[in-house]
Amino acid sequence: MSEETKVMVIPCSGIGKAFGSIGREASYIAVEELRPGQTDTVCLSLLVMGDEETRDRVRGHPCISVDGCPTGCARKNIELAGGKIARALRVIDTYRQHHELKPVQVTELDEAGQRLAGLLAEEIAKQVDAVIQEVQ
């Protein structure tokens, strides 16, 4: 697959709640295990600070934002940087479908958090496939 059709998966990495850690973990699973070679990620903080190389990478690829909460920091910052949001995913939406999984720990995810991350990673991978189909 060409470099241009890679999908950028960018989590908010929110640090105050478990949902931020789940979004980060899900993104790593999707990028490193489920869709390696088809996806990549960037430091959101670099994007926030206007790093040119990071902006170019984001502007040159379709992006999937992965936000922990409805504030939507990843989505908003990608848009502010001129990136195109192909999909905006939220941990809270995965949680709403799986209320039995109540994550508590933030630093090292507990079992519920790990399972939510796995479910969200599968959704990210599914959306990556759909986005790649759309741009080809």
């Binding site: 929110g14 640090i15 105050g16 980060r24 990620t41 959101l44 920091c73």
Partner: protein
């Protein structure tokens, strides 16, 4: 009557997703929030500076802040300075790591044993900065406590309001955090004007960013507020 102020320090982590050091910065910050300084620290997601509103952007004005960066690009420190106020202290993971060359993280997703040990070392460095900041003089009435009721490790955006008042500094309106309780602390003080001015400014600087070049303007503005406050208090008995 005054109570000892329970002050808090804000911690801003870069959490860079691309590199191991970003994960180390994040884990170290959480260790400080949860274990090393649980009752003395709060945090804010760095991307909230841009995505959030005025409350988020006044974070570093409300709290003395430690910026924790993974690499020399210093995103957390620069973002804090750009969107809020200059951080009071900085910790950079790559700098700490130079002192512990054997502690290398496995991957950005799984730090491994050595990576976790490095995160602990970085956390200790952050905690030392927190202790330094809190060791500075502070005793103001309890109602000046920033974000009272904020739980350990929570984002500041989940915390309570901080009492602020707008005053004129060199003719420009400026919001000052905790002004009334600070003035109350000095209401009955018996000291020369120059000394009181300096003490009020010093106390205000704990909770507010005062640009070095505007210190004298702030001192004068705070003094005007103090004189007015003391006159009102005397008039009301």
């Amino acid at each position: 009557m005054t109570a000892q102020l329970k002050r808090k320090v804000g911690i801003i982590s870069c959490s860079g997703e691309e590199i191991c050091e970003g994960t180390v910065s994040r884990v170290a910050t959480r260790l400080v929030l949860e274990k090393l300084c649980a009752d003395r620290t709060v945090t804010l997601c760095l991307p909230l500076f841009l995505a959030g509103g005025q409350d988020e952007r006044s974070f570093a004005k409300n709290y003395p802040t430690v910026a924790v960066d993974g690499c020399g690009k210093l995103c957390a420190a620069k973002a804090t300075a750009t969107y809020s106020a200059e951080p009071a202290a900085q910790v950079v993971v790559t700098e700490v790591a130079k002192r512990f060359p054997d502690l290398k993280a496995d991957t950005r997703r799984n730090l491994g044993e050595a990576g976790m040990e490095l995160a602990y070392r970085v956390a200790e460095e952050i905690a030392a900065r927190v202790d330094e900041l809190l060791s500075r003089e502070a005793e103001v009435p309890q109602d000046a406590t920033p974000a009272q009721g904020t739980q350990a490790g929570a984002c500041s955006c989940q915390g309570g309001g901080v009492p602020t008042k707008e005053i004129l500094v060199a003719g420009a309106p400026v919001e000052v955090v905790g002004l009334q309780p600070i003035l109350a602390r000095f209401h009955a003080a018996d000291a020369p004007e120059t000394e009181l001015k300096a003490q009020i400014l010093k106390m205000a600087k704990i909770y507010n960013y005062v640009p070095p070049e505007q210190e004298s303007a702030y001192a004068e503005a705070l003094w005007r507020e103090f004189v007015s406050y003391r006159a009102d208090g005397d008039a009301n008995g």
